[in-house]
């Protein structure tokens, strides 16, 4: 689990028809903690930046598939 993930437990009723999910998650990406990007943030190398989708590690948000084939 990464630090951008938040976990919550949905209410579980006594007569729910389906097997309950233990918990649910949602992502809080780094843009929620930055109002205005400060200058001179450390940068990825260019190949890393292309792969990440951003030039700055401070803005990077990892996401892994919930499908079984996900890395």
């Amino acid at each position: 689990m990464n630090s951008q993930e938040r976990v919550w437990t949905p209410y579980r009723g006594p007569f729910d028809p389906c097997p309950p999910v233990p918990f649910k998650t949602y992502v809080v990406p780094p843009n929620q903690f930055i109002n205005f990007q400060p200058p001179n943030l450390p940068q990825f190398t260019l190949p890393e930046a292309l792969k990440a989708g951003t030039l700055w590690p401070a803005l990077f948000s990892p996401y892994e598939s919930k499908s079984k084939g996900g890395k």
Partner: protein
């Protein structure tokens, strides 16, 4: 005026013949929070917004068109060699009946794109907050799409697009700050 570069913003590789995903990807092609809606929303709002943030809307709108091209490439790769049986099994039978293998701006449920998906309120804060919400909704859509496929190549391109939505949302937040604070006036040298 635009200059077209005949290459994608990020490589699109599809490693698995999974026609089903083509249908779901259409949510980002012609859906309410899709790339077409995003590009047209910003390209239109930029005319009636303070000068300082026009460029942000133009740039991001332009990039959204590049994303639209990536999504189209994914859908096309997944459907171009699909048989009618495969298309029907993926829920794309109605699409074939209308237009053979052609793409169209519609969402995953087959609802055609409509201009009512986008707004222009003329109030800079109202418009920018709509744009921030649109980016977060697109980010969420990408997450659900990444969840729905086990094709790591497709996931890779979708993860790139998801990250771009996060950066765009931040740029719109910065635009809001620029309009709130009138940053230039505060600066003392």
């Amino acid at each position: 005026m635009w200059i077209y570069e005949k290459k994608l913003q990020y490589p699109v590789r599809v490693g698995k013949c999974d026609v089903r995903m083509a249908r779901y990807l259409m949510e980002q092609y012609g859906g309410a929070d899709g790339e077409l809606a995003a590009a047209l929303r910003y390209m239109n709002q930029r005319y009636a917004i303070p000068d300082k943030v026009i460029g942000v809307l133009t740039d991001i709108s332009t990039e959204e068109f590049a994303h639209l091209e990536m999504i189209a490439t994914m859908i096309y790769k997944l459907t171009k060699d699909a048989t009618i049986d495969q298309l029907e099994a993926a829920g794309l039978g109605p699409n074939y009946a209308t237009r053979d293998h052609a793409l169209f701006y519609q969402n995953a449920a087959g609802v055609p794109w409509t201009a009512t998906y986008i707004q222009a309120k003329g109030d800079p804060l109202a418009d920018l907050y709509e744009d921030i919400a649109a980016e977060e909704k697109a980010r969420a859509t990408y997450q659900w799409l990444i969840d729905m496929t086990d094709d790591v190549d497709l996931q890779d391109s979708l993860k790139f697009l998801r990250e771009r939505e996060i950066v765009h949302a931040l740029r719109f937040k910065e635009s809001v700050q620029i309009l709130i604070e009138e940053r230039d006036k505060k600066r003392v040298f």
